[in-house]
């Protein structure tokens, strides 16, 4: 990983401004993490930190996958099924002749391919992403159930230990993925995602290959979702064809908490990651405090609505003064 022109003032100024816009979110996330650490000091040990980040990691990946889709001006309803499919492919291939390396490659290629096909349909046929991914979610779920009708399959123990054992591998992987995203965003193609999502006609006239940009964004989104599935399979030691279902809505929730807009071109990946961390901490806190599941859902919904409403209210209040 080369350092991305980090010596340049302009680049740092742009990044700094993006961080300032997220200042409020950073504060809220920090407050929740501190609260969590006070309630459950176990997180401060190596094992506790590893377990905490392992619970958070797949949500962070799907939040990124969803944020990418939302940046292009779309939304994906197929995130959960892609997680399931990733888990199923990992669990059915790793025991066979492909081995672990082949299994990881199969998962990654599947994610890229499904994402790219979806992207081609959305970008070239100009169909709404929400409809195409709704259809895709049925197909992907069906394929996962055909490959593995009931939970099972095989994940080598050493892989489960390496990814979901007592070391914070997941956290390091997340850092690595974020660095790769930063590098991607520093390419003309990566930055083009913002332009293609916000003002496709203007982007086209500026010389951005709008369709190709969208297809790449969709493919990367599919890749991230399937990799989340691989991790979930390693965590549970097996494949489950419907394990990803809750991730569809949680990925939207995390991206929205992180300030990613629905209309395209608005939001940041660091915001989406923070949103997923916030959601993960909230779910954990409520679980450990013994909230009944029903109350958890209600609380989760209220928090998400306030996350969207509070900045608007602050904005309106500022405008009034």
């Amino acid at each position: 990983m080369t350092v991305i022109s980090s010596s340049d003032r302009l680049y740092r100024a742009i990044q700094g401004r993006r961080n300032r816009g997220l200042g409020g979110l950073y504060l809220v996330v920090a407050a929740f993490v501190v609260l969590y650490a006070i309630l459950f000091p176990g997180i401060l040990s190596m094992g506790g930190f590893a377990k905490f980040t392992q619970n958070w990691f797949p949500l962070a990946l799907v939040a990124m996958a969803q944020a990418l889709m939302m940046l292009t001006g779309g939304i994906s309803l197929a995130i959960g099924p892609l997680v399931s499919l990733g888990a199923v492919i990992a669990a059915t291939t790793m025991g066979g002749s492909l081995g672990v390396v082949g299994g990881v490659a199969a998962v990654a290629l599947t994610g890229l391919a499904i994402g790219a096909v979806t992207g081609v349909i959305v970008a070239h046929l100009r169909l709404p992403a929400i409809i195409v991914t709704l259809a895709g979610s049925f197909i992907v779920t069906g394929v996962a159930l055909i490959l593995l009708p009931r939970p099972g399959g095989f994940i080598p123990d050493w892989l489960s230990d390496a990814l979901a054992g007592h070391t914070p591998t997941a956290f390091l992987l997340l850092g690595l993925i974020l660095l790769m995203w930063k590098a991607f965003l520093a390419t003309p193609l990566g930055l083009g995602i913002y332009a293609a999502g916000d003002n496709p006609v203007g982007a086209f006239r500026s010389g951005i290959p709008v369709e190709r940009t969208k297809v790449v964004a969709f493919a990367v989104s599919g890749l991230l979702a399937c990799l989340a599935g691989l991790f979930v399979a390693a965590q549970t030691g097996s494949g489950d064809p419907i394990i990803g279902t809750p991730f569809t809505l949680n990925s939207i929730a995390a991206a929205v908490l992180g300030g990613v807009g629905f209309l395209g071109g608005k939001g940041t990946m660091r915001g989406a990651i923070c949103g997923s961390l916030l959601l993960s901490v909230m779910i954990n806190v409520m679980f450990f405090l013994g909230f009944p599941p029903v109350a958890q859902y209600v609380a989760q919904g209220l928090i998400i609505v306030s996350a969207v409403a509070v900045p608007e209210l602050i904005h309106a209040w500022r405008a009034k003064r």
Binding site: L10, I14, T187, Y194, S206, G207, A319
Partner: protein, 502 residues
């Protein structure tokens, strides 16, 4: 210069849409070091010609010629490669990216596949200095006013170092100061040998900047000549193809009567504690640089944004309207500048757009009364000379006709106060004349017309009184003979002028 070869030409180009011919054999040639004006009413084919020259559309017949060579398969990409840049009326910016990233978009300098921010920074700094863009380069475009965004758009075109620069109504959202900077820039580029094509509805700008003109009328060239020795009247004749009277209707001799609006200590948005008044039968102009509170003044009076005043009298009420419905009930209507987003429902028909504010009033027993509606629609279309089938979607109309629809929809509620925000932006001359006449008639009928405008001649010749805002305060209030372009521009820019006292 006279023996120079044209950089970009269109030769006998034809282009139609759905069997409807728009360009019928048009020639144009852009020479280095010359500012070429393209004039024509809306619908004359100017936009289509620009799209052909920039590769966004292909001609049905005829050819585009670059440096004497036929362009062959011509696309926006090959136009860029040939050094042709267009500043479009519709902005091509991305709101959440920084100024610098927007300027470089599509033409980023790269190092190892990544954007070379250091090189980008240098290049962007240079073009920003040329266009007078002083905002921090890392600022998101979303935080800029419309006029500043237009300036970014111009910088973006310059960043590509064009040999041919096409500017499509670049000044429509610029302030007088920004337009002045652009004019200087065009002179510099011209002297450096750039070929410029300049499209504008403002004839004084065209006459000040351009040396050669091509006039389009109904898809044909009606004039292709040097601009020296032809005056505004002559240009207008070429565009409309007949003798024209004065663009502006005469002021009425009748004295304004009762006070309709009187506010003191009025604040709304950017407007800070001003006094303002208007009487029935008056056209009051609001001028100033872009974004000095003109729109907020109108919106505040209309109850669309929070406003407060120490004393207020509006249409016999002792209070500001709290919300839009209250303003409508008090006979106040507002025609927004951004007619496409705020004034009209574009995909809907002309008929349903003009009937929209009257739906509730015309309903019987909570159901729509179709016959009353169609009677009203026919009546309004006639009154405002909206031509053709009222079932067409509004987005199919030219800018001028869209504006007429945005205005027409309020007439059935018989408003006593009309607030208009830049009603003639991007409107062709013939429609402008119709709109001016309409506004003058409204005033003669005893209504109060308040018009915010960035077009200074409009303020000078149409309005009975002009209030110039600067930084949210009244910089000058001009009446009768004191209204002049110099006084308005001087007050807007904070230059002391004799006789400009309130």
């Amino acid at each position: 210069m006279t023996d120079a070869k044209p950089l970009l030409e269109a030769r006998q180009v034809f282009r139609g849409f759905f069997g409807n011919p728009v360009l019928k054999g048009v020639d144009i040639a852009l020479y280095p070091g010359r500012v070429h004006a393209l004039l024509g009413e809306n619908g004359a084919g100017k936009s289509t010609l620009i799209n052909l020259l920039s590769g966004a559309l292909q001609p049905d017949n005829g050819e585009i010629v670059i440096d004497g060579q036929p362009a062959g398969r011509y696309s926006p990409a090959s136009a860029r490669a040939a050094g042709i840049a267009v500043v479009q009326q519709e902005l091509s910016l991305t709101a959440n990216l920084s100024i610098a990233e927007n300027i470089g978009l599509g033409a980023f300098p790269r190092r190892f596949g990544l954007i070379d921010y250091a090189t980008l920074h240098r290049g962007v700094r240079d073009v920003c200095a040329m266009v007078g863009l002083t905002e921090p380069l890392d600022m998101p475009v979303a935080d800029l006013s419309l006029g500043r965004r237009q300036t970014v758009e111009i910088a973006k075109a310059l960043y590509r170092k064009p040999r041919v620069l096409i500017l499509d109504e670049p000044t429509s959202s610029l302030s007088a100061h920004e337009a002045g900077v652009l004019a200087d820039l065009m002179v510099t580029l011209r002297d450096q040998g750039t070929a410029l094509l300049y499209i504008s509805h403002r004839l004084n700008e065209v006459q000040a900047l351009c040396s050669h003109v091509t006039v389009l009328k109904d898809g044909k060239v009606t004039g292709n000549q040097s601009l020296s020795g032809i005056d505004g009247e002559g240009l207008v004749r070429l565009m409309v193809g007949r003798e024209t009277g004065d663009l502006f209707p005469p002021r009425s001799a009748a004295q304004p009567t009762a006070t309709r609006i009187m506010v003191e200590g009025f604040s709304a948005g950017a407007v800070k504690e001003i006094s303002f008044s208007g009487r029935a039968g008056e056209i009051v102009g609001i001028g100033g640089l872009v974004g000095q509170g003109q729109e907020d003044l109108l919106l505040g009076l209309y109850g669309a944004i929070p406003a407060k005043a120490t004393k207020a009298e509006i249409s016999d009420r002792q209070d500001l309207p709290r919300h839009v419905q209250a303003a409508n009930a008090a006979g106040i209507v507002y025609v927004p500048a951004d007619r496409k987003h705020e004034g009209l429902v574009l995909p809907h028909s002309i008929a349903s757009n003009i009937i929209l504010p009257s739906l509730g009033r015309l309903a019987r027993h909570g159901l729509r009364d179709r016959s009353a509606e169609s009677g009203l629609i026919a009546d309004l279309a006639r009154q405002l000379t909206i031509k053709g089938d009222v079932g067409r979607p509004v987005q199919a109309l030219s800018g001028g006709n869209q504006q007429k629809v945005a205005l027409a929809k309020w007439l059935p509620i018989n408003p006593s106060i009309l607030l208009l925000n830049d009603p003639t932006r991007g409107v062709d001359i013939e429609t402008k004349r119709e709109i001016y006449l309409m506004l003058r008639n409204f005033a003669t009928e005893g209504r109060l017309v308040i018009i915010a405008s960035s077009d200074t001649p409009e303020l000078v010749h149409l309005c009975d009184r002009v209030v110039v805002l600067r930084e949210g305060r009244v910089a000058a209030e001009l009446e009768a003979d004191a209204i002049s372009e110099e006084a308005i521009v001087g007050a807007a820019m904070g230059v002391e002028q004799a006789g400009a006292a309130a």
